[in-house]
Every structure is written in C-alpha cells, then in structure tokens.
Symmetry: D2
Subunit: 320 residues, 4 copies
Amino acid sequence: MKEITHVKINPDMTINELLKEFRYGAGFGGKQLAKAADIYEAMLKDEEATVFCGFAGALIPGGMRQVIIDMLEWGFIDVFVCTGAILTHDLIEAFGFHHYHGSAHVDDRELAKKNLNRIYNVLLPTSAYEKLEEEVQGILQDVKTESLCTADFLHEFGLRVPNENSILGKCARKDIPIFCPALVDSVLGFQIWMARQGRSTTIDAFDDQKRMLDIAHDSKKRGALIIGGGVPKHFIALAMQVTSKGLDYAIQITMDRPEPGGVSGASLEEAKSWKKVDPASEQVVDVICDATIALPLLISSMESRFQGNYRTHKKFERYF
Amino acid sequence: MKEITHVKINPDMTINELLKEFRYGAGFGGKQLAKAADIYEAMLKDEEATVFCGFAGALIPGGMRQVIIDMLEWGFIDVFVCTGAILTHDLIEAFGFHHYHGSAHVDDRELAKKNLNRIYNVLLPTSAYEKLEEEVQGILQDVKTESLCTADFLHEFGLRVPNENSILGKCARKDIPIFCPALVDSVLGFQIWMARQGRSTTIDAFDDQKRMLDIAHDSKKRGALIIGGGVPKHFIALAMQVTSKGLDYAIQITMDRPEPGGVSGASLEEAKSWKKVDPASEQVVDVICDATIALPLLISSMESRFQGNYRTHKKFERYF
Amino acid sequence: MKEITHVKINPDMTINELLKEFRYGAGFGGKQLAKAADIYEAMLKDEEATVFCGFAGALIPGGMRQVIIDMLEWGFIDVFVCTGAILTHDLIEAFGFHHYHGSAHVDDRELAKKNLNRIYNVLLPTSAYEKLEEEVQGILQDVKTESLCTADFLHEFGLRVPNENSILGKCARKDIPIFCPALVDSVLGFQIWMARQGRSTTIDAFDDQKRMLDIAHDSKKRGALIIGGGVPKHFIALAMQVTSKGLDYAIQITMDRPEPGGVSGASLEEAKSWKKVDPASEQVVDVICDATIALPLLISSMESRFQGNYRTHKKFERYF
Amino acid sequence: MKEITHVKINPDMTINELLKEFRYGAGFGGKQLAKAADIYEAMLKDEEATVFCGFAGALIPGGMRQVIIDMLEWGFIDVFVCTGAILTHDLIEAFGFHHYHGSAHVDDRELAKKNLNRIYNVLLPTSAYEKLEEEVQGILQDVKTESLCTADFLHEFGLRVPNENSILGKCARKDIPIFCPALVDSVLGFQIWMARQGRSTTIDAFDDQKRMLDIAHDSKKRGALIIGGGVPKHFIALAMQVTSKGLDYAIQITMDRPEPGGVSGASLEEAKSWKKVDPASEQVVDVICDATIALPLLISSMESRFQGNYRTHKKFERYF
C-alpha cells in the first residue's frame, strides 16, 4: 500500500506540478484528478489509441471554448462528439456575440423582461440568437445537404465558418470528425430545418453511426475523455459496445450521481460490465468535479507534459 | 404566511392522502412533491392545455414501464418525448425479455464474464440484446421508411410491436405522437441503420422539429412533466422558446444539480429567463428526487384524484 | 436472478402497498426504499435488537415533527440521537411558535429586513428565537445541572417541557435516552450556557459516550436508522466501532454523496470495512432521497405492518 | 455586463494565473472558485477582519494536512474550528502512522478481514488506532483537565504533541484558538473520556461558546472560509447570529446540495436572511467542489498573491 503523502504546495506552483503532487499526496477528488491526467497522458502517447472526446453541458457559456480549441489544435482529440448546444454556443461566439457574467441569485422574471437568458451564473442576450439566424442561414444557402450524414454536413458547414477560431471551424479545417447525434435538438438544428424547407435535401443521422462504428472498429486501441455525460457519452460507449471492443483508457468528468440510474452519472466501473470499457483496464477514472474547474487543470497539465511537442491527431482519410 | 403543519401519517394511508398532507405539512422535498401533484392535476384538468411529457434515464430498468403505460392509458400524456434508451428497454420487455435485480456493490469484471450488464442495482443479460435484434429486424422489413420523420417511423414501428402492452405499442395504437430526437444514439437506432442498408430509405429527424413546433404553436396552453432532463427536456423547452410561448405549467423531477450549468439540472426558474417557462407562471416546481420514487407517487395520486374519470388525451389529427 | 416486475399502481393505493410493490417492481431508489422498509420491519421485530435512530438536518422545519413523535410513541426508537438544531426547532414548536412555507426563489436581503430566516423553502421568524429564550430560561432555573451528562440533562429538561407532544418531552416521559453530542453547537446550547453563568453547574458531554457505549455493548443485536448523517450518524457508528460489534441492521437516508469523503455521504457498505456495520450483514441499505419524502413513506409503511400492535421500546432501566 | 472571455491556458501556467484567468474567463464553478480566491485575499488583507476557518470531512485522509498546516503557518487562519475526526486523523499522522491509497471499487468485507478501514478511496489500518490510544493516553496523563473548556484543553494537549508539524501542535504553539464543539463524537473524545475515569476532571464544552462569542463580538470585521459544512460551519454561523454581526466575507466549499434543508448544503445567500452573513455583503461565494481539489488551488493562489509577505494571525491574548 502506498501512503497518502499529503499535498505540498508552494507559491507560483504550476498546475502540472499540483496534479503530479496529487498523485500520491491526495485522496478523494484530488487523487482522481491526478489519475485522470496520467491516463489522458498515456492515451495521448499511445500511438495505437484513437482518442474520442465527448462534450455535453454548457461548456462554451462556462468559458471553456478556448480550452477546447487548444485541445483540437494540439492533437488532443481524434474524434469530437458533442451536443447541439455546444455547436450553437460556439457559433454565437464565432459570429462575434458573447456570453456574460451574471449571478444565480436573481429574479428570472426580471431577466426575461430584459431578454437575458440565464444558465446558472451566465447570461446570454436573446439578440445573439437573432443574429445567429442571419449568419447561419447565409452559410446554409451554400452548403449542399443532399444525402449528407450529420458529420459530413457539419464538416461542410464548419469550413464556411468565417472565424477560424471556432470549435466547428477548427474541426472542419483540421479534418477532425465531428459527431452530433442529437443535432436536431438545438437552435442550430432548428435553423437547419428552416433552411431546408423547399429544398430536396436530407441530413441523415443514421449514417453517422456507421461512420462512428467504422472508426471504433478500425482503431487498434481506444481511449475516451468524456465531459458531462449525456448523448456524447452514450454515443461513444455504444460504439464500443456494438464493435465489441471496450475502451482501453477512459476518463469521465461529471457532477451527476450514479444511484438514480441515468447514463451521465453512471460510473465507468459499471461500464466494464457492459464491456463499453475493457473489464481488464486499470486506466479508468471518474472525476466528480465541475468541468469548468477540472478541464482547464487537465489540459494545462497536458500542455506541460508535452512541452510543445504536440501530438498529431489521427487521420481517418477515407472519411473525408 | 402559512404554517408548516407537520405531516400526519396513519396506518393504511393512501399515497394521495400523503401528497395532500405534504401540501401544508412538509417543507423541502415533500412540499415540492405535493406542489408537483397539484400542478399536474391542474394541467390535466385544464382543457386548453397540451401535456408534454419528457422521459430520460433508465426508467424501464428501474421498473417504471407499467406506470408510464398507465399514464398513456389514462390520458395523462398528450405528447411523448423520450430517449432512444427508453424505447430500446421497452422493446426488450415487449419481446419477452427482462431486467433483473442486482446490486451496486459487485465486481463488474465478474459481471462482464457472465454477460450481465449493470445499471446501478439492475442487471440486463447481453442475450436480451441479441434477441432484440432478431425481433426488430423482423418488424423493420415491414416498415416503409421512405421520407418518414422519426415520429412517423416510430408510429409505424409501434403499430407492429406485437405486445400491445408496451410504451411504443401504446403510443402508436392511441395515436399519441412520440418524439425521440436522439434515436440514432441507441441500440434501436443502430438496428434501424442496419436494416436500412441497401434500401433507399430515409428517416429524417429534422421534420420532427417542425411537427413538435406545430403542436406547441397550436396549443392554447402548454404544460410539461419532465423526468430526468436530457434531450427530452431540451427538446420540449426548445419548442417553447422557438414558438415564443412559455410553459404555463411545468414540473421536473431530477437528481442533477444546477451549479455546473448542464440542462438536466437547470432549475425551471432559470427557464423563465428564457421564456421556456412563462415568467408569470406560479405553476412551476422542481422536485429533487429519484424518479423511481417520485413518479409512482405522483401518478398514483393522479389516479386517486381522477377516480376512473380519466382524461382523453389530445388528438393531433392532422399529424397522422 | 429475480426479474424487475415493474411497479403496478392503482387508485387509492396505500403507501405500504407501494413499498411492497417496489420490492420486486422497482430498481434504483424505489428498490432501495423497499429494502429499507423490510430491514426496518425486521429490526423492529427482532426482540434482541436495540434500535438506534440518528436525526440530522432541519427535519422539524421540514414538517417531520409529528412523524418522529409517532416513531417515539409506537416504539420504533430505542435510542434517540440528534443534533442541537433538532431540539431547538422542536422547542420552538413546543412553545407555540411555527415554521412557515416560503420559497427558495427569493431575495434573502428582503427576508433579512423582515426578520425572516430561510431554510431552503421554509421560513422562521426571528421572534420565535426571542420567545424561545424566555421559555428555556424559565425551565433552566428549575433543572439541576450539577454533574449531569447531556443525556441526563436533556431528560430532566424534557420532563419540564409543558407540551407533551414534543420530541424532547416525549423522549423524557417515555424514558427514551436522548443523545445530542454537539448540543453546545445550537441555540439551545447557547441558552444553557447563558443560564449556567454564576452557577456551579456542569454538563459533561464525555459521560454521554460511556452511556452510549454501555447501551451498545449490552445490546445482543443492534440496528440503526440514520437520517441525514452528521454527528448523529458518526456517534452511533463510533459506538459500534469501539464496542467491536457492528450493526446487524442498518439503513441510511441521505442526499450527500460518497466521493468527497465526508461521513454523511459515506456508504454503509464502506462502514463494513470499519466493522461499524457487521461485514456479514445483508440487512444494509443506502437510500438516496430527501428525508421529507422517504421518512413518512417508511414510517407509514411500518404502521401498516404493525397494525396497532406496536412495539414497546427497550428500557435501559439503570440509566435513569 | 462583463463578457465571458474564455479561459486561456498555457504550458507551465501557475495555479494563481489560472484562478485569475477564471475571473472573467469562466462561468459556473471556475468563476465561483476565482471569486473565492479574490474574497479570501480581501479578507486576509483587511486588517480589521478576523478570519474564521471551519473544517469538516476527512480532509487529513484526503491529503490536506500539509495545506492546512501551511495555512496556519502563513497566518491564513485566526480561529480554527473543526470536527473531532480532523483532530483524530491529524494525531494519527503526528504519531507516525499513515493513511493509504485505496480504491472505492473493492469488497469491503475483504477489507474488514484485513483490518483496513475505508474512506472512499483511502484506507486506514486499524492498528493506527491502537497506537493512537497509547500515545494519547500518555499525553493525557500530563494534561490537567480541571475546569477546562475544550479550546483550553486542546491548547494544552497540542503543546504536548511531539511532532510540531501537526495541525493541533501548530495551533497550540502559535496560540491559534482551536474549537471542536463535537469533540466527544470522535476517537480522540473517547480517549479523553477513558483517561478521565477516576479523576475529578471536567472538560466543559459550553464555555467554548462564550469564548467564540467573545472573539466574534470583539472583531471589527469578520470573514469565514468554510470547508465541508457540518458542526464547524454551524458553530461559526451561530456565533455571528448570536452576536448580531454577520460575516463581511464568506466562502464555502462543499459538495452538498441545498434542497434537502441540511446546514452543510445551505447556500451562503440563504445565510443572509439569518444575518449570519451580512445581507449587504457582495463578498460571498459558494464553491461546489471537492475540497481536495479546491483547497490546494485556493491556498496555492494565496501564497502567490502574498509572495512570502505572509499575514500574522490575530492574537486573542486574553484567551491564553
């Protein structure tokens, strides 16, 4: 048995130093976070491993947009899976609008009068959605949507996002596959439906599953970093289940709890019984923490560990 | 101000008596649950109101299948919105397979060897999925999928589920619209993709949004009972936002918390700022409780209040 | 393996019928609650078992006062362990003051101006504390506090609470030992300190531990129902640890989670490693639920099962 | 309104840089943590403010011992309030024993056989408690306990802890008052009771309250950092309530939630209605995060901000 050595901190300690200190110094959440960093590092350094990242929750309003863009830039993501809200919020920022600091202790009826939409302690003016419509419709005039699966559609759309510094724009320009299985359930999805009216076009979500399964199947080893659960978590896990190859590396960061049986709170240990995670793997960890705290810690630590020699994301050439 | 009168219980007290006793007797969760029952009753008795119900989470493995079927039978649901997992689990039971009692304190590697998949304290044998495939493929041979939206596809599929006592079968036979925006992200979705190969068929999720918006728009008043959050919660709320008519009545039952910013844990009060819920409505309540406890309490209480004079669900005739 | 049979509800179903239905019908929280009822019944029917009940949290503001008094009346509690807040809130009601229904969505600065103290959705006027002081000081003039342990002091105090229908009054009159290890950390504790000034009196908390250990040691079998965790949970568990006799029966109802390492959220399974709970016992369950929902369900169910033939609580005659 | 500027990270970023980046870059938990750092800095730099720190939960098994000792060393704590478990775990380490890394996914019955006590993912051998007894009894022979309040007793005890690098030893040697209102509810409390047998000695917890109230009353301004809630949180808040001076600065770090009404999860906003927190104060924040993550971040950030020019803790000379 290894002793808990107690976390030693010092002035101007780096994040990576702290996460290394957590390895043997901390129990509970600190320990789990240290383990997450070590597993993510191992996954990224394993040349055989494909790295699937799932993002759910209001991460862009929560200020994580640049962190995610850095992850894409530095090769920390091979396959990007997200909710429609992630893309919608990303586009709002890409088109020059913003989310704002607010407070959770407010009268929401007053906010409604001011057309300020609240997400816990963050605000988004309704006007941003109106502008979004204009911009999105403009792009959609230009995107062929005949017989496209969602991933291909998002690739085409992303290439046309003027601001390269967007998640969608970055994925498209770097040929990183982007899956959004519930795209229809978003403001962006609504805009797509609007644009399509009267045109003989089709976006077919089912073909995405084939593509995801192909990638999963063809990967020698497989790792996942799952933020917030939801459809992205389930979509990644389902691909592992269907292809009968459990994840070799798995990290999840969530604040949901396992007892009520929902997928977002389900432990990755439980996922071993399903073989969504390889039952023999020790490289598995649940981090119970707000992602706006845990994700920057994790990614800054990765940057320190790679020191500029970043990874090149896997190419799935035949897909694009 | 009204006094907390303290809950009085007695032997053989009915559930409805307890929920009425909670009205003035209890604070905290008990009070919220009593309020939920009163709001649901008001929503069901308001002839102008359309009742949207959203279901997420492993409610069928959790034993809620019959309760949901009762809700459909008794007119407690006008529009059914759910995850693909709800439908998959429902079909597993419809085809004669079962979920089983297990424990959360087990070695998941042992379960994996036995091909038993765990969902907290519930188990599902892998063999159920194999049988599911056979049955689903059989039905899918018979369903036209040309230019169907998901809701229409599920209606056609549901009519062919042999066991009428299934959620999908019941919705179809009663012409209750069933929306599953993330159907692709499920074992059922995977089966659909498999069946479709080589056939020129299309299921188009985007048309579902139009249908949902039409229903929302045409409803004089609108109520929602949301279990577990996720895509179903978001899809219902989005329809309210886009049609600029907030919910007049709203209940959510969840164990997720609001602080990390995810949609499942977001308070319905927050939804007022978005006008997803009518800012002026007092008929709004968050119940922080495991749905396998709260839902049977709520529905049994409704049964007592309606005493057999059940509601007839709204018909959206032009949709089918 | 036993099938999940799916919960069947009907109009005017009793609470006990539902909890029995949950046994095989439900997974997740419903199942855990059914197990809790079965374990509590077994514990109460086991003549060798001493039943320790721990209460933490604002249960009285939450409307649970009469339920707890019923538990004391019907022999469902042999040893009562609680926080100082439980006693303080009980006395506020015993002296004729009340807690009130409020809302969690308010401006707390406005409440402060109105001298209304908020506990989530419950309010307590500051004036109640002022009146409490008067009444408590009156009683304290009459209580000898020389060399009393807290349990003896509370017994003496309780005998003088005019309203027999109080938790403290009921414990005292029925000779049920009442432990409050952190009494000093409460408004009642503050009143005791005030009354004592200038008198050569002592209340010695350490002697309570001896008494608790004696009771634990002398019990052939031991069961616990723990609501909310905190000091009462720890005090009961510590007595088991120190006397080297783990609980034969154990139920906890909490909303706290285990991952951050705190005692309130720690699972009872974990308590087996400490032998606070007998490692061999199967009669152990965690219920993750708001106590204002779970406790009335549990106790009403017990009433139905005992049908008037209530248990006589254990007497620890030498202690009083 | 201020924009969410999105968190920018870089290799070898320091913790303090990240927390400053969180100020405008992050929403949700990241934002709350940044605010906590700014409030703690303001509290520590306000010469009129007394800094009360409350510690609950298994922070020592969680590896936070050195961080807390640093806080004491650098003047970040004027008044130390904790649970008996904090002191017990501290002494176990002070006497040369250790906590160990374990896993939450284990068979607790196996651990019981090996005499390994589990706290989530941390283990403590039973032998440590046996050794603790020996050491504690040795010290207790030497401590006069006549008419001591708990704080004085702990001061005397702490002076005799051989290892200066302990929390209790550090508090005693630096004359930092240490309050432990529920000391009796701990293994250390049990040892004290054992040592006292046959001696005419008394430790009187009620006198601690007077001392706490005197400190609270005499402080021009008052700040609190509360980790984990429980009795320490309540004891600090009660002192503010009774002396009618709300906290000018208040931070809490917890994973408990407010809806069930317990004190640990209650928001500090709610505390304004009680005037436990000054209703007019803007320097108030709840951080929903595992303390083993949030506390090292917060304290490392403080170190960077003070750059060696540490604060001298307030002296309450008349108390010792």
